[in-house]
C-alpha cells in the first residue's frame, strides 16, 4: 500500500531533521566521554525538550550506591513558576503510582491545568535502571520519528550509565560504537533559523564528516534500517533487519523477487521504490514483510535520500517500523470509533467536549447542524456566539463554577438555531478525572427544553388567567343576571312611579303616600345602579371552548395555585382523586374556575374557625349514571337551612367584600356542561359542595344562556340537606 506524498518537501525536511537529531543524540553521549553522568543526562533532556517541543521531560534513575533515586527533569519555558524534577516526579507518582516499573507506556494525565500525553520508557536491558518520561500537549504524541528519537535517547542514556559504572555487570549493547568518531562541527540546530536549504546544508555537512559513521548511527537505531546505494541496491543493513528477517544480506538484496514482501504489496512497493530512486523524492509505503518465523507483519517503510555536497544522492536510508500492533489497534480503534461516532451522532442531543480550561474541542453533528457553525467556528469559545446575550453571563458564571469545583453541573440558557430563532436548552457538563482527581476533559450534552419552558410559561399564563377569571363571568350568563337583577328594582321604580301619579291625582292628593313611593323609587334606582356598578368591574369572558378534560389533572393544577393561600390560612388539604376517572368534555378554564371558587369558599368559610383543625378535602369519583363528580368538604360552620335556598343565587354573599357571584357563576358553568351543583351539610362540622358532570360521550356544551332553569331549587339544594 502506497501512502500519498502530498507533503513530500515537508516530509523530507522532517526526516532529515530526525536523522540529524539522531546523530546529535548519539554524538552527545559518546563524545563527552567522562563528563558527569547527571550533566550528560541533563543535556540529553534539554535536547529532547527542544527537539520534540515537550511540556516536560523527566528521568528517574536508581542510584546503585544509595537507595534514593536520582531525579532529573526539564520543563518547557512556557510553564509558569518553578517546577523542578521533584515536582514532576510527584505529579507522576500521584497519577501513575509510585513504582515506575508499573507505569504504562502511554498515558494521558493532567499537568498544570493542561491535558498532556505521556510516553514512559524504561531504561536498561531489563528495564530496571530507571525511567524516562516525556510529555507533550499534543494528543497524537508520539508519532513515529519522535518515538524513534526517544528510543535512541533512552538507549544512549543507558549506554552512558553503563559506561559510567565500570563495576557493574552490564553488557554493552551489541550495537555500541567502538571507533572514535569525528567531533561534530554543528551545534544544536536551531529550528527558527536557516530555512530548508540551510538545514539541508547542515545535514549534508554533518553527513560528509560522518560517512563512515552512517553504519554506527544506523546500528544505533533500534528499528530495522537499511542503507541503499544511489541506484537502489541494498548496501548495508542493521542488526534488527537481520534479526527480523532471519536472512542474509545477500538474500535481502533480492527482496524484489523473493517472498520477503507480501505478494499483494510487492508490486506497489517496487513501483514506489523505483519512482523514488528516479525522482530522488522520499517515499513511504505500508507493506507486509515476512519474518524469520514465516509470519507476515505490517511495516511502515520510509525511505529518504542522503545527499552529498553537490546535491546528488549518495545513499538512500530506509526505515522499517513495525506497525502490526498498531494496525490491529487501528482497526479495532476504527471500528470502535465508528461505533462511538454513530452513537454520538444518534444521541438526540447536542454533544460536546471541552478541555480542562473550558475551551471546547468537539461538537457532534447535531450541535453543528443546530447552530449552523462549522467545527472551526465553534471551536474553543466560538460556540458562545450562539448563546442568547441575556443568558451568556449566567452561563459563563455557571461554567466557571463547575470548573472550579470540578463537579458535574447544569444550567439553562437559550441557544440560537441556524435560522435565528432561540430555543431553551439545558446545558449539562460532566468531568472526566484522572486518579488524582484532576480534570482531564469535560463532556457535555445540551438538551432542548423549549417545549417544557413553553409549557411552564403556559402554566403561568393559565394561572394568571384563572386569577383573572375569578372575577369574570360568562357574558351570556352576565346578561341574563343583569337583566334579572336589574329588572327587579326597575319594576319597583315603574310601579312606585305609577302609584305616585295616582296618589297625587287623588282628591285630596295623598302627598305622604306619594312621598313614600318617591323614596322607594330612589332606593330602587340606587339599587339598580349598584348592581350595574359592580358588574361593570368585570369584563369580557373568553369564548368557551370544548375539549376532553381530565378532571383530576385540572383539580391538581388548581390546588397547586391555591397551596399558598391555603397554607397562609392555616388550612390543611387532603385529596382523594379517583383513578380511572372518565374524561369530561368542556371548557377547562371554566371548570377550573368552579373548582377554585369552591376551594376559596371552603377556605374562607373556615377562616373564623379556631377550636378545631381547618381541614379541606377534595375528592373526585364516578357517579352511578357515569357522571364525574367533584366534592369539596370543609370543616367550617356549615350553612343555615333557611339560606340554603339562596346559596347559588346571584349576589348572595355572606362575605363583607364578596361579590356574591362565585356560586351563581359556578352554577351556570356547571349547568352549561349539563351537570348539576349542590351543597350538603356534613355529618360532622362543615359543609360539602359538589358538582357532577356527565362523562364525555355524546355530550355537547350549550353555549347559550340557561333557559330559566337556573333558579330551580332542584338543582341547588340536595335532598339530603338536614
Amino acid at each position: 500500500m502506497v501512502i500519498n506524498r502530498e507533503h513530500s518537501t515537508e516530509e523530507s525536511r522532517r526526516l532529515q531533521q530526525c536523522f540529524n537529531d539522531l546523530s546529535q543524540i548519539v554524538a552527545l553521549s559518546t563524545a563527552l566521554g567522562r563528563g558527569s553522568l547527571s550533566q550528560l543526562v541533563a543535556d540529553l533532556l534539554e535536547m529532547l525538550l527542544g527537539m520534540l517541543h515537550l511540556e516536560f521531560v523527566y528521568v528517574r534513575l536508581k542510584d546503585p550506591v544509595n537507595a534514593a533515586p536520582i531525579e532529573l527533569g526539564r520543563t518547557a519555558k512556557s510553564l509558569d513558576g518553578f517546577i523542578g524534577p521533584k515536582e514532576i516526579g510527584s505529579v507522576l507518582n500521584n497519577a501513575l503510582g509510585s513504582n515506575p516499573q508499573t507505569w504504562p507506556a502511554n498515558e494521558q494525565i493532567a499537568f498544570c491545568d493542561k491535558s498532556v500525553s505521556l510516553v514512559s520508557l524504561r531504561l536498561g536491558p531489563q528495564g530496571d535502571m530507571g525511567i524516562l518520561v516525556a510529555a507533550s500537549t499534543r494528543a497524537d504524541f508520539p508519532e513515529e520519528t519522535e518515538r524513534l528519537r526517544l528510543d535512541v535517547a533512552a538507549n544512549q542514556a543507558v549506554i552512558a550509565l553503563q559506561q559510567g559504572r565500570p563495576s557493574s555487570e552490564a553488557r554493552q549493547p551489541a550495537n555500541a560504537v567502538d571507533e572514535p568518531l569525528a567531533q561534530p562541527t554543528i551545534d544544536t540546530v536551531s529550528r527558527e533559523g536557516g530555512g530548508e536549504l540551510e538545514q539541508l546544508r547542515r545535514a549534508v555537512e554533518s553527513l560528509r564528516l560522518r560517512e563512515i559513521d552512517i553504519q554506527s548511527v544506523v546500528d544505533a537505531i533500534p528499528a530495522p534500517t537499511s542503507i541503499m546505494t544511489a541506484e537502489g541496491e541494498v548496501e548495508a543493513v542493521n542488526r534488527p533487519v537481520l534479526e527480523y528477517f532471519g536472512r542474509s544480506v545477500d538474500e535481502l538484496r533480492h527482496w524484489s523477487t523473493s517472498d520477503i514482501v507480501h505478494p499483494d504489496d510487492l508490486q506497489p512497493t517496487i513501483s514506489a521504490w523505483r519512482l523514488a530512486v528516479e525522482t530522488g523524492e522520499p517515499y513511504e509505503v505500508e507493506s507486509r514483510h515476512r519474518g524469520s518465523d514465516g509470519v507476515y507483519r505490517w511495516f511502515h517503510v520510509r525511505g529518504f535520500p542522503l545527499r552529498g555536497s553537490d546535491g546528488h544522492i549518495v545513499r538512500w536510508c530506509v526505515l522499517q517500523i513495525d506497525i502490526e500492533d498498531r494496525k490491529r489497534a487501528e482497526q479495532a480503534l476504527r471500528t470502535s470509533e465508528r461505533n462511538l461516532y454513530l452513537i454520538i451522532s444518534t444521541i438526540p442531543g447536542l454533544v460536546w467536549s471541552a478541555r480542562p480550561d473550558g475551551s471546547a474541542d468537539f461538537f457532534n453533528q447535531h450541535y453543528l447542524d443546530y447552530v449552523g457553525f462549522s467545527s472551526e467556528q465553534a471551536q474553543d469559545w466560538g460556540w458562545t456566539a450562539a448563546v442568547h446575550p441575556e443568558d451568556l453571563d449566567g452561563l459563563a458564571s455557571a461554567w466557571q463554577a463547575f470548573m472550579a469545583t470540578r463537579q458535574a453541573g447544569e444550567k439553562e440558557a437559550r441557544l440560537r438555531r441556524f435560522d435565528g430563532s432561540y430555543r431553551w436548552f439545558l446545558f449539562r457538563a460532566n468531568p472526566l478525572r484522572d486518579d488524582s482527581g484532576n480534570v482531564i476533559k469535560w463532556f457535555g450534552i445540551n438538551t432542548d427544553i423549549e417545549d417544557r419552558k413553553r409549557a411552564e410559561e403556559e402554566l403561568r399564563d393559565t394561572q394568571a388567567k384563572l386569577a383573572h377569571m375569578a372575577r369574570v363571568m360568562m357574558m351570556g350568563e352576565l346578561t341574563a343576571s343583569i337583566a334579572h337583577e336589574v329588572n327587579q328594582p326597575l319594576a319597583g321604580i315603574v310601579t312606585n312611579a305609577n302609584t305616585c301619579l295616582r296618589m297625587l291625582a287623588a282628591d285630596p292628593p295623598n302627598v305622604a303616600g306619594a312621598r313614600e313611593t318617591v323614596r322607594r323609587t330612589l332606593r330602587d334606582g340606587n339599587r339598580a345602579s349598584d348592581i350595574i356598578g359592580r358588574l361593570r368591574a368585570l369584563f369580557n369572558r373568553k369564548a368557551p371552548v370544548s375539549q376532553p378534560i381530565d378532571l383530576n389533572e385540572a383539580t391538581r393544577e388548581v390546588i397547586a395555585l391555591s397551596l399558598n393561600k391555603l397554607h397562609r390560612d392555616g388550612v390543611s388539604l387532603r385529596t382523594r382523586l379517583a383513578e380511572d376517572l372518565p374524561r369530561v368534555t368542556g371548557d377547562r378554564v371554566q371548570l377550573q374556575q368552579v373548582i377554585l371558587n369552591l376551594l376559596n369558599n371552603a377556605a374562607d368559610a373556615m377562616s373564623a374557625i379556631d377550636d378545631r383543625p381547618r381541614e379541606l378535602m377534595v375528592s373526585t369519583g364516578r357517579d352511578e349514571d357515569s357522571c364525574v363528580r367533584l366534592s369539596v368538604h370543609d370543616s367550617g360552620p356549615g350553612f343555615d337551612l333557611e339560606v340554603a335556598e339562596r346559596l347559588f343565587d346571584a349576589f348572595y354573599t355572606t362575605k363583607g367584600d364578596g361579590m356574591g357571584i362565585g356560586l351563581s357563576v359556578s352554577r351556570s358553568i356547571v349547568e352549561n356542561h349539563h351537570g348539576r351543583i349542590w351543597a350538603a351539610l356534613n355529618d360532622g362540622p362543615g359543609a360539602t359542595f359538589s358538582f357532577s358532570i356527565p362523562g364525555s360521550s355524546e355530550v355537547t356544551i350549550s353555549i347559550g344562556g340557561p333557559e330559566g332553569k337556573g333558579t330551580l331549587a332542584a338543582n341547588n339544594i340536595a335532598r339530603d340537606v338536614g
Binding site: 334579572h484 337583577e485 319594576a491 335556598e645 331549587a713
Partner: protein, 123 residues
C-alpha cells in the same frame, strides 16, 4: 263597595313586594304581599284571595308549582304571572297552562290593570 277585592302578591323580591300593593290599592283593590309560595299557603288569605299576582321563578316552590297546588286544593284563583326572566315562549306557555296573563318586569300600570280586569271579569 264595602269590601274590596283582595289581590295577593307572591314574589321573593322586596322591591316588588313593597311597591305593588300600593299601586293595587290605588287601583281600588285590597292587597297582601308574601315572600314565598309557602308563606302564602300557610296564611289565612288563601280562600279570600280574588286574584294572585305570582312571580314565576322563586326559590322553594315556584309560581307554576303554586298554581298547580292551588288547583289540587280545589281553589279557582285566577293567576297573573310576573317575571323578570322571560323570552317569547314564556307568556304563551303560562297562558296555555291556565294563567290569565303573564307580564314581564317592568310592566306599565295599564298592562297590570288590563290583566286584573281580565282576571276579575272572567271570575
Amino acid at each position: 263597595m264595602s269590601t274590596r277585592l283582595l289581590v295577593s302578591v307572591v314574589d321573593d323580591d322586596e322591591s316588588v313586594r313593597e311597591s305593588l300593593p300600593d299601586l293595587l290599592r290605588e287601583f281600588g283593590y285590597a292587597a297582601q304581599a308574601f315572600s314565598s309560595a309557602e308563606a302564602f299557603l300557610a296564611s289565612e288569605y288563601v280562600g279570600k284571595t280574588g286574584c294572585l299576582i305570582l312571580d314565576i321563578a322563586m326559590p322553594g316552590m315556584t309560581g307554576p308549582e303554586l298554581q298547580r297546588e292551588l288547583i289540587r286544593l280545589r281553589y279557582q284563583i285566577p293567576v297573573v304571572f310576573i317575571t323578570a326572566h322571560g323570552d317569547e315562549s314564556t307568556r304563551p306557555r303560562m297562558i296555555g297552562q291556565g294563567a290569565v296573563e303573564c307580564l314581564s318586569k317592568p310592566f306599565s300600570d295599564e298592562a297590570l290593570l288590563r290583566a286584573l280586569n281580565a282576571a276579575f271579569g272572567a271570575g
